[in-house]
Amino acid sequence: MEQSAQIPLLQIDGLSKRFPGAIALADVSLSIHAGQVHGLVGENGAGKSTLMKVLAGIERGDSGRVVLSGKPVAFENPADAQASGIAMIHQETNLVDDLTVAENIFLGREPTRWGFVNRRRLHEAARGLLKQVDAGFGPAVKVRTLSIAERQLVEIAKAISFDARLLIMDEPTAVLTSHETQALFELIGRLKDRGVTIIYISHLLPEVLRLCDKIIVMRDGRVTTTLDEKQVPATTEQELAGLMVGRPLADHFPTRSAAGQGHALEVRDLSVAGCVYNVSFVVRRGEIIGFAGLIGAGRTEMAEAIMGLRQRSSGVVMVDGKGVDIRSARDAVRAGIGYLSEDRKGTGLHLAMSVAANVTMLSLARYCRPLIHQADEDNATRGYIDRLRIRASGPRRAVGTLSGGNQQKVLLAKWLEMNPKILIVDEPTRGVDIGAKEEIYALLRRLVDEGMACMLISSELNEVLGLSHRVAVMRQGRLEIILNAADATEQKVMHYAAGVAVA
C-alpha cells in the first residue's frame, strides 16, 4: 500500500463549476491516494457534493481536468464513472420507492438467467449486503415503507455492492445512530484493507478525525487546507472547525436554563399499528425533551401520529392541558404544534419553489393584504438567510438548487417562521455544518427560554444529550425510559436503546 500511496489514484487540476446563480467550484486542485480514507469537510455550500458529483459523472465541470490513475477522464454520465470503478453514496437518498430493497441495490445490474431477472440470486446477494450494514429489514421489502435512516442503509449497501476502487460517501451518517455508524466504520475498515480508496464527507468532525488518514478542507468552492497522515492525529475538533468556518468556535452547546412549569404538550397511551406502542409523556413549557433510539425505534412514526399525519390506533394529545382532536397536520398547526420532518426532500420542502415561498409556506396569511406582499416575504426570508447562514443568492432562488445543508436550514426557517408553541424537530441539523449548528442550537435554546416547548428527535446522541432537559429512549416502538439530563450518559442511553440490561 505504501508505494501505491505515492502515485495518486485520482488527480484533479483547476476544476471549476458554475451554476446559474452560484459558483460551486472555483479552480479546485487535489490528489487522492489509493487505499486511504480521505475526509472532505467544509461549510454548507462549500462545493463538496458538487465536486463529488463531477467525479461520479453526474455533473460536468466547466473547466479543469480529472486524471484517474494516470489517464485523464471526462465522465459523460454515471455509467462512465461506474465503469471506471467509482461509486458514490449520495447526500440525498435516491431510491425507487416502488421497487424492493434488493431491486434498488442492483438496479441496472440485475443478475439474469436467460434474459430473466434471477430473483433468488438477487435476494441472496442483497441479503448478504444488508447484513454487512446490519440493517433490520429484508431484501423483499418495498423501499416506500422504509424510514429515511433505513433508506440510507440501502444506499450504503448499494454503494459497496459495486466493489469500486474509489468509494465516495456524502454524509452517510447524517441520519444514522451511533449503532449503525459503528457498523459503517467497521465496514469502511474492511474496505480499506481491501485497498479501496474512500472519500468521506461529513459534518460530524469527531468521526472524520477518527476515521480519516487525510482531510481536505473546502471553502467557497476552493480547497483551502489539506491535512496529511501526520497532521491529522495532531488536529483537534476545534482546530478543524476553525479551518472550515474560518473563525474559532466555542463549545457548541449553550448552557441550558431550568425548564418552565406547566404542561405544554401531554401525550397519553399513543399507539400506531405496527410501529408505536402505548407511548405516554409530557413536555413542559421551556423544556427540550430529547428522543433517542435506534433506527426504526418508531420516533418518526410517533411524531407523525402526534401531528395527525398517521392513523393513531390509540392515544390522546393534550395541548396546555386541554385535549385536542388532531386529525391532520392542519389541526396540529392550529393547536400550535409544528413538526420539522426528517425527510426534507420527500415531505419537507418544495424543491422547485423559491426559498421565500418555502419559508412562508405556513405563515403566508401574514403576508397577504389581501395580495401577497412579496417584498415583505423577501425581507423576512433574508432575515433567516443571514441568521442561519443560508448560502443562497437570494430569496427567489429555487430551493432545489441549494446545497443539502442549506436546504435543511430553509426547512428549519420554515418552521421557526410559524412560531409554534410546541416544536417537534426530527433530525433538525441533518447535514448542517457546525458553524450553523451552533446558531441553530442557540436559536432553539432562545425560543425555549421564551417559553416554547421542544421535542428533539435526533440520531446524533451528543446533540440530544447536549440540549435536552430530559432524554426519552425508545426501542421497537416502545418508550423505554425517560432520563434526566443529569444522569443521562451515552452508555446508559445506548443500553436502553439497544435493549441490553444496564450494568
Binding site: G21, S328, R330, T347, G348, A352, A357, M361
Partner: protein, 393 residues
Amino acid sequence: MNVPIENSRRWDWPAVVERLGPMLALIVLVAVTAVLERLLKHESHFLKAENIFNILRQYSFVGIVAVGMTFVIISGGIDLSVGSLLACAGGIGIWMMNTAILATKLINDNALARKEYAENVAAGLNLPLELPWSAFRESLAHWSITLHLGTSEPAGVVLAVLAALVVATFAGWLNGLLITRGRVAPFIVTLGGLAAFRSIAMAIADGGEFRSASHDLFGSFGAGGISIPGQYVAEGVPLQFPNPTIVFLVIALAAAVLLRSTRYGRYVCAIGSNERAAVYSAINVNRIKSLTYTLMGFLAGIAGIMVASRTTAVTSSATGNLYELDAIAAVVIGGTRMQGGSGGIAGTVIGVLILGVIGSMLNFLDVSTYLQGLVKGVIIVVAVLLQRLGQKR
C-alpha cells in the same frame, strides 16, 4: 461572494428561453405565415386587423377554458371534461332562457294538446297523449311566470347566464369531489365527465340543437365588440374589437394575479410540485384541489354561454368537441409543466394565440383538407420542440 452570483443570475439562459420561448414561436409562426401567403398566393390578408380580430374572437372561448386548465395542470391534474361541459352548460343556459321567454306559448301549446286529447278520448279514439313540451318544462314555465323571472327577453338572457354558470360550477365541483374525497385519478374522473356531460346535453336536446329564442339580444354580445373609431371592414360595418376577447383578457389578467400573488395560487403550485410536502405544511390539499376544479367548471360555464351567444345555438353533439385537447395543448405550448408545479397564465395566453394562428394559417395557405391534421400536429410539436432545444439540459 454574493456579488458574482447576483451577476451570473442575469445570465440564466435556460430560464430566459423558457420564458420567451412561446413568444418567439408565435412570432416565427406569424412571420412564416405572412411570408408564405405573399409568396404562394401573392396576397397579404393574413395580417389585416380584421383577420387578427377574427382569430382573437374565434379562440377566446378555448382561451377562457385554457386559463382554467392552467390551474388544473399546475396543481398536477388534468380535465378532459371541459369540452362536453361547455356544451352542456351553454345548452342548458339556452334551454332555461327559452323556457322563460316562451313560457306563455309553451303553456298554451300543452294546454291545447291536452284539450285535443280530451276530445279524442270523448270521441272514443285513444291516441296517446303527446305533449309538445315536457311536463317538467311546463312547470318551470309556470314558475318563471309566477316569479316574474325573465319572461321578458333581457331577464331571460340573465337567466341563461346564471343557469349556465350554476350548472358548470356544480359539475366542476363534482369532478373535484370525486378526485379529492374519492381519490380517483383526475384523468378517469374527467374522462367520465367527457362522456357524461355531453350525453346529458344530448338527452335534453334529443340529440339536436339548443336554439336561442332571443336572437338579437342574446346573440349581440358574443358576436359584437367595441368599434374602433374610423375603421371599417365594409361600408357601414365598423371594425370591432371582439367582446369575447375582452372577457378572455380580463379573466386571464385576474387569473394571473390569482396565481402569482394569492395564497390560493401559491398553494396550487405547492401541491403540484410536492403534494406530500403540502400535506405536511398543513395545506388543505383537498380544498385547494376541489376549488381548482370548481374554478375550471365555472370558466367552462362562461365559455359555454359565450359560445352559445356567439352562434345563438348549441349543437348538443358537436359544440365544444376537442376543446379539452386544444386547451391542454395551449397550456403546455405556453410552457407550463405537464407534471405540474410550475407554469404561468401569460404563457397560456400565447399558447392560445399560437393555436389560433395555426388554425387561420391552414386556411390562408389553402392546406388541403386531409393534410391539415398533419400540418397542425407537426407545428404544435415543433413549437414546443424549439423551446426545449433553446434551453440546454
